[in-house]
């Protein structure tokens, strides 16, 4: 990282255990390879297939581009799960 570089968002702590609401959905970020998994998601869109809105897709040129810090930053910012497809 460069000095005075990117900082993460303000933390909301401490983390507390609480009852999970019945309408709760896990907030998922999906890292998808441009050439396979992302193409499949794209195809699903073209075919007007619906998929869960709580999954946000991030396109990578290849899942080999996935870095430890991408996953850690996602969790730091409150993502409940990370899905990697490629």
């Amino acid at each position: 990282m460069i000095p005075d570089g990117e900082k993460t968002l303000e933390r909301q702590g401490p983390e507390m255990l609480y009852e999970i609401p019945s309408d709760w959905d896990a907030n998922i970020v999906a890292f998808a390879c441009h050439y396979c998994a992302f193409a499949a998601a794209d195809l699903a869109g073209v075919m007007r297939l619906s998929y869960a809105p709580n999954v946000k897709i991030v396109r990578l040129p290849c899942t080999g581009k996935l870095d430890h810090i991408y996953v850690l930053r996602a969790f730091e910012r409150g993502i409940d799960g990370v899905f990697v497809a490629g």
């Binding site: 000095p3 993460t8 401490p14 983390e15 810090i69 850690l72």
Partner: protein, 220 residues
């Protein structure tokens, strides 16, 4: 290069949890090669510490940064402001870098995130082995390029001991006997007769026995 291993996360957390503004500071040369202390690892460690702080409800501002080498003044220029404003620094450098930061920033606590382990090479991806102990009086010229000081468990200078068996050391069947390697290498070089020659006594005063060592270029 210098090889280090990151300390257990709990040990690092215990060292830094009392501070309010911490800089996790990477060193992007030797310890980056072994994926333990580079600027990338500083980013990862800072992220893990921030999450731990959130879980514990401890308020610490943790930023990560790094430079190419923490053992030379010139490289610190780009991080000067950040380090001057830091309440504490968690250095991912080897012991040299940690001490250098501590000397440079006299009133700032500096903590080591790594255990500096040895001077070694990369024999395969992700596999590091010790090859030098910086004894100050190199004997590689007469030992066929295999160092008995760092690679023989007993640092023997006069051939293998009775624990050498089938080319392996008695402490582990996975560890080559350094003197077996030396003999094999001398044989391959056609210099096995040299093994019979008695070398002059090794000058151990150039090792740590003479206290901390230094070296100064003349005329600079």
């Amino acid at each position: 290069m210098i090889v280090g291993e990151q300390k257990p996360f709990e040990e690092i957390w215990e060292m830094i949890k009392g501070h309010k503004r911490l800089t996790v500071f990477g060193c992007n040369t030797c310890v980056a090669v072994c994926h333990q202390g580079g600027n990338k690892e500083a980013g990862i460690l800072a992220s893990l510490l921030r999450m731990r702080a959130t879980q514990e409800g401890v308020d610490i501002e943790i930023v990560d940064s790094g430079i190419e080498r923490q053992c030379e003044h010139e490289f610190f220029d780009q991080a000067r402001d950040l380090l001057e404003k830091s309440e504490a620094v968690l250095s991912l450098a080897c012991g040299i870098g940690v001490q250098f930061v501590a000397t440079k920033y006299h009133s700032t606590p500096v903590y080591p995130a790594l255990n500096t382990t040895f001077l070694g090479d990369v024999i395969a991806v992700g596999h590091f082995t010790e090859k030098c102990q910086a004894c100050g009086d190199c004997v590689l010229g007469i030992t066929g390029g295999v160092c008995p000081v760092s690679r023989c468990c007993k640092r023997l200078m006069n051939g293998p001991c009775g624990g050498s068996s089938n080319g392996k050391c008695e402490i582990s069947k996975d560890l080559d006997c350094a003197w077996q390697l030396i003999i094999d290498r001398l044989e391959a070089l056609g210099k096995l007769d040299d093994y019979e020659k008695i070398p002059p006594l090794k000058n151990w005063s150039k090792d740590r026995a003479g206290g901390p060592r230094s070296f100064k270029l003349e005329g600079i």
